[in-house]
């Protein structure tokens, strides 16, 4: 990486000027900020309705579910893993919860469990999925990408199977609360998501286990040699990721007060999840990235989607434009961030 460092940078580093060093690491995180600002400006021009509280809380609500699952995936990326099955969990978990709540006539299991009990079970199911992934990958030393790919197909299949392809509508209020309720003008989902981001960020930065996650992803052998219980941490992170994915899925289902067979795998949300994390500077090679970046990745994608929506670009070209905007944003962030953001 030193190959192309500018003389100024180099001199600074050699003289151990910490300001410089800190700035570099900060740049990596902040590189998206100018791009986000630019998007907001563009949005304002595209549609007068863009710069309104309603629209922004709207965006907040829409990206909440994505945000939570992105936190989960980021944790897994940090340990050098890659979990595709989070999208399966994102769809299956709320389906299971709803399935346990609603009567058989509405494609439920007929158990009509108390909603809170059902949601608790949902979290346990998610944790179980995480454990299975973790054991297969860590203990079984199978390739994580392909294990979780197989797993996500299994999960999506179960999601379809238990309700014979039906969607569960009219889910109970307790189920919808997280995704659709507001406290004042703020969506509950948005509040929860912000809390999750901050909490995870502080944990990663100031808790030993958080630091161990970076160590494991940065150099597994070194982490093990240093006495870190790498297997336990890796499995634990897969579990945490799955649980977060389930919570995100619950938000999304609550937002549309229904669980469809599409949610998760069929809508292919995992791509968006990776996009947000990676745009936010979380490395696919592990050990690099933080919640500030991940959050800005989520915000950026949410803004693009929203602006596209309000822009009324022709039906047929909207997709192409969306992709182009993402690419441009990427290049901009790279140019602004300089070396710090280079691969």
């Amino acid at each position: 990486m030193t190959g192309t460092a500018s003389r100024a940078e180099v001199e600074a580093v050699m003289q151990g000027r910490s300001a410089q060093a800190a700035a570099v690491s900060l740049l990596r995180e902040a590189a998206l900020l100018p791009v986000i600002v630019l998007l907001v400006v563009i949005g304002a021009f595209v549609n007068t309705a863009f710069l309104t509280v309603a629209n922004f809380t709207g965006i907040g609500q829409q990206v909440s579910a994505l945000g939570v699952i992105v936190v989960g995936e980021s944790l897994i990326l940090l340990i050098g893993g890659m979990d595709l099955s989070l999208e399966g969990t994102y769809g299956l978990a709320p389906m299971v919860a709803a399935w346990l709540m609603v009567p058989a006539a509405e494609y439920g299991a007929g158990l009509r469990l108390d909603p809170y009990l059902a949601m608790l079970i949902m979290l346990l199911v998610a944790a179980l999925i995480g454990i299975i992934n973790g054991l297969l990958i860590v203990k079984g030393r199978l390739n994580g990408f392909i294990v979780t790919l197989g797993m996500t197909i299994v999960l999506a299949g179960i999601q379809l199977g238990i309700v014979s392809g039906n969607s569960i509508f009219n889910t109970p209020a307790a189920f919808n609360y997280l995704g659709s309720a507001n406290i004042g003008t703020l969506p509950v989902s948005l509040i929860v998501t912000v809390v999750v981001f901050i909490g995870t960020g502080l944990f990663l930065r100031y808790h030993r286990t958080g630091r161990a996650i970076y160590a494991v992803g940065g150099n597994l052998a070194a982490a093990r040699a240093a006495g870190i219980k790498v297997d336990r941490i890796r499995i634990g992170v897969y579990v945490a990721g799955s649980v977060l994915a389930a919570i995100g899925g619950l938000m999304e289902a609550g937002r549309v007060s229904a669980v469809t067979g599409q949610q998760g795998y069929q809508e292919g949300i995992i791509f968006t999840v990776f996009a947000a994390a990676v745009i936010g500077g979380v490395s696919l090679r592990g050990g690099r990235g933080n919640m500030v970046g991940a959050a800005s990745g989520v915000i950026l994608l949410g803004l693009v989607q929203n602006i596209m929506d309000l822009s009324q670009v022709s039906n047929y070209w909207i997709e192409a434009v969306t992709g182009a905007v993402i690419l441009v944003a990427l290049v901009l962030a790279r140019v602004i961030g300089g070396e710090a953001t280079a691969e």
């Binding site: 014979s164 009219n170 937002r255 007060s257 469809t260 599409q262 069929q266 929506d309 309000l310 039906n315």
Partner: protein
């Protein structure tokens, strides 16, 4: 060849004399779930051994392969819901070479001959929605939650609706939201639209039923419930419920039961070598007629899809695409509507106090 699996597995749907193959594109929407459900019931009634239904997801080449598999497995006729009107070429010729007839359900066929096309005119759906909205709205915005524009259904509904609105309701601005049938996207788009234009939005046309459940809470939060016209499509039970409660205004009742029954019935006819021609009595429609697409013309049973409102009414708009602009709606109380039939069989269309309400 005989299929060892025919009787095994949930897909068999009873055993009988005639083997009929089924290959579908979707199995995860309320409509198709109901369709498959009916197909299996009707199979027992008509003494048909179903092979399938197989699922081709979004892979046209896989669908062709699957149909060839079904033919090789000894299906005497194959019911198919094509990926697109024009991606069935090889399967059609393969089936023809093995003297097996295809019945296309819910999609026109524009490449080669099939025995029957069982499908309501989706152009009519768009026109009906337009007729209802344009008769009540003169200005402001209308949100169109469009289906997959690469499917003939999504395209027909969108094109007819836009053409009709342009012809009859020029003062209205249509917000076009391509959703590719993804519920989350539809709700997101609707939310953005309402946040942007608020009560300037007079109506929402949701080209399928699922988005309603997310849409209605949105309206409620904005205190627009009942103030905004919602026209959706499919006619699944909860739409029947919502119409009767005035939560949504209208829905196209796409009769899954008739689709399933007549597709299977024609498959049996085909297997028995029965010859049908235009003008013969239809099943879902009064008369069989030629349905042409891209110069290719196939015999079709243009199922009549009732346009459901709370109470019967007649609407008049300038027709488009050669369709008549006279629309007579069916009251939601009509117990013959498939949504009501299916709903009653499953504990009532409103069996639980709808959280949406």
């Amino acid at each position: 060849g005989s299929s060892s699996g025919g009787s095994s597995g949930g897909g068999g749907g009873g055993s009988g004399t005639i083997a009929i193959g089924v290959d579908l594109t979707y199995n995860n929407t309320a409509f198709w779930a109901a369709y498959i459900n009916y197909e299996k019931q009707d199979a027992r009634q008509l003494h048909v051994k179903l092979i399938g239904p197989l699922l081709a997801a979004a892979n046209a080449s896989l669908q062709n392969q699957q149909i060839e598999d079904l033919v090789n497995e000894g299906a005497k006729a194959v019911i198919v819901n094509p990926e697109t009107a024009t991606s069935l070429g090889p399967a059609i010729s393969y089936a023809a070479a093995h003297h097996v007839k295809l019945i296309s359900v819910d999609t026109i066929v524009g490449v080669g001959k099939v025995y029957m096309v069982v499908r309501a005119s989706n152009l009519l759906y768009g026109l009906d929605a337009c007729a209802y909205i344009s008769s009540k709205v003169r200005s402001g915005y209308v949100v169109d939650l469009e289906g997959d524009l690469t499917s003939s259904n999504g395209a027909d509904r969108t094109n007819a609706f836009n053409a009709c609105m342009a012809a009859n309701d020029p003062g209205v601005k249509i917000l076009k939201e391509p959703t590719v049938w993804v519920d989350g996207t539809a709700v997101t788009d609707a939310q953005n639209a309402f946040n942007a234009y608020g009560s300037k939005i007079k109506a929402v046309y949701s080209q399928w039923s699922s988005p309603d459940t997310g849409l209605l809470p949105l309206l409620k939060a904005k205190h627009l419930t009942g103030k905004v016209i919602v026209v959706s499509d499919d006619g699944v039970p909860f739409e029947m419920c919502d119409i009767s409660r005035g939560l949504i205004s209208a829905s196209q009742s796409q009769p899954a039961n008739l689709y399933a029954y007549w597709a299977l019935k024609y498959a049996v006819d085909a297997a028995k070598g029965m010859a049908l021609k235009p003008g013969d009595a239809g099943g879902g429609a009064p008369k069989l007629q030629m349905i042409s697409y891209q110069g290719d013309s196939n015999l079709g049973d243009p199922i009549v899809a009732p346009f459901v409102t709370k109470s019967a009414q007649t609407l008049h708009v300038t027709g488009v695409d050669g369709l008549s602009g006279d629309v007579t709606t069916t009251p939601v109380t009509n117990s013959q509507l498939w949504g009501n039939v299916y709903g009653q069989a499953h504990g009532g269309v409103c069996s639980k106090t709808a959280a949406a309400g």
